[in-house]
Amino acid sequence: MTNIIRLDGLSKHFGSVIGVDDVSLSVRKGEFLTLLGPSGCGKSTLLRMIGGFEEPTAGQIWLDGEDVTDLPPNRRAVNMLFQDYALFPHMSVGKNVGYGLKVAGTPKREVETRVLEVLDLVGLADKAGAAPHQLSGGQQQRVALARAIVRQPKVLLLDEPLSALDANLREAMQVELRHLHQKVGLTFIMVTHDQTEALTMSDRVIVMRAGRIVQDGAPQSLYDLPGSPYIADFIGTTNLFASRIENGRIACHGQPLTIDPQSILPGARTFGFRPEKARLLRGDANGSNLLRGKVAEVFYHGSVARIIVDLGAGQVLVDLQITDAAAGLPQLGDAVAVEIAAHKIMGFAAEDAA
């Protein structure tokens, strides 16, 4: 597939503060790409540079083979879905959606048809005459979406599109955005700090930290093969601990664990395992690769209970799938054992666990 966007050594400095630091990246046509990272990692600045709202300090932006680095936003074939929608309050929904078509000198009749088409696509065909403030948050979001795609941009930029919605609506919109992406076949670049959102919606996730890309991959590879303790902890939850490998074994808070030498580099210094990949056993259970401790806290989530096990020298998290409620939950202070298969332990070269 062809690249629709290429970023070459893109940097943005705000005075002495570095917002984006030498980022190079290609986005394939039709891809749903997500820039993920904590606030202040530069993901929004990167998106705003692609949209033309920030001028890069260095580097180039190529859109469909054309250098658009110095073009203002109104001369780029990209459109943005703004975080708080940015609907024009003094125009009707229909006028808002048709706003961008007028520039292109589209005949009035055609503007009307296309506005209705795209409003129909987001399920708001009957609201063309309404004022934006008469709509709910979710509906306003759809109008903003319709307005952004009606010009059929080469790339649609989505800046934290779901952060202003409440939890239920957010999940529904996640699904809807994905369906829309499949239906219209546009390239989507989304910015979010919500890792669930990133994993659920995208084809590819770029994790950013302090202005740089730290990992680039499909959602599953990010989760299962995190490149650093930072990502292991940022995407999902990981029990991280420092240790050295001695005779194929490591120490987790003082207790020995066997590792799989094939999946872990010999120089690894930081290790971890995911709470849902370990098994919680009774204290008197026997087995290999067991960590023994006491239940320190229980968080009940309905389908799962997350248990904090105190190993004496430290604590680990273990998820307990609740398949039979009658079995009951472990009680505080119960002696338990945590079983973790050797190949499920991840190892990383030395880096501070963020």
Binding site: G52, F53, P73, H133, A148
Partner: protein, 289 residues
């Protein structure tokens, strides 16, 4: 032991000071004016009556209508020039001045003169525009004039200049507030959808700041419309305002009934303007809900 007062009494207690104020200083005087406007002048005093003679005089004697129209013209010009100066200034402050401290300083530079006595500010223009004034001495020193010219003072132009200077803060403040309230991402959205700067200004910024323009226009117009000090200082006979005529009726002419009728006509005009602007503002209210 004190008994808690009933709710109605407490409500009345809270509301009574402003209520008394409004009744005593607004309702009663206006009622008196209203009643007086139907009385009859019988020099050197006036007697109670119920007749429309005073209003007839206002219509039949052209000097009143002329003064009223002149006052409306001056007030409208003051509002217009205030707008032409204030809008670019407020726009510059909101969109071009990046440093908040500088923006605040420049904003205060417009607002601060309000703390100086009105009289002093109007009087300043007398010293600027007069024959011994700064403008004349400047023009003579540059050789444009050979001797001081009296044409700058005591006419309608000097009225408009002075009143514009005096009331321009009331135009800057609402426009600044309206412009500042426009979310920046609306302008970005407009650019994103392909509009250039001028188109964005005309289609987004201007319509959304119109409430501020209307509020500023209403305030400067009503203030200039009712002004009578500037006319004394810089107006001259050609710059007389309707308020000066009213003041004369209550003073030298000793014709309170006619003065009352004039004052009521003026009040009706001001109320009409305020209600029109109020309706406009309510029209735009939904825009920011």
């Amino acid at each position: 032991m004190t008994l808690p007062l009933p709710l109605r009494v407490r409500k009345a207690l809270v509301l009574s000071p402003p209520l008394i104020w409004v009744v005593l200083f607004m309702f009663v005087p206006y009622t008196i004016l209203f009643v007086f406007s139907f009385w009859q002048q019988q020099y050197p005093t006036f007697t109670p009556a119920l007749q429309l003679g005073n209003y007839q005089t206002l219509i039949s004697d052209p000097q009143y209508l002329r003064t009223l129209l002149r006052t409306i013209k001056i007030a409208a010009l003051v509002s217009l020039f205030s707008l032409l100066l204030a809008y670019p200034y407020a726009y510059f402050l909101v969109h071009k001045v990046r440093r908040p401290a500088l923006r605040q300083t420049l904003y205060m530079a417009v607002v601060a003169p309000l703390w100086v006595s009105y009289l002093l500010r109007a009087y300043t223009w007398k010293t600027i525009l007069g024959t011994e004034g700064i403008l004349n001495s400047f023009l003579i020193s540059t050789g444009i004039l050979t001797e001081p010219s009296p044409i700058f003072l005591y006419n309608q132009t000097s009225m408009v200049v002075t009143l514009t200077y005096v009331f321009i803060p009331f135009m800057v403040m609402p426009i600044y507030a309206a412009l500042e309230k426009i979310p920046r991402n609306l302008l970005e959205a407009s650019a994103d959808l392909g509009m250039g700067r001028t188109a964005t200004f005309l289609k987004v910024t201007l319509p959304l700041s119109l409430t501020g323009v209307v509020a500023g226009f209403t305030m400067t117009f009503c203030l200039a419309f009712g002004d009578f000090i500037a006319a004394y200082l810089v107006g001259g006979p050609d710059g007389m305002m309707i308020s000066n005529v009213i003041a004369t009726q209550f003073g030298a002419s000793l014709n309170w009934p006619l003065g009352s009728a004039l004052a009521l006509v003026m009040l009706v005009i001001v109320l009409a303007i305020i209600s029109v602007s109020d309706r406009f503002e309510r029209l735009g209210k939904g825009a920011f809900a």
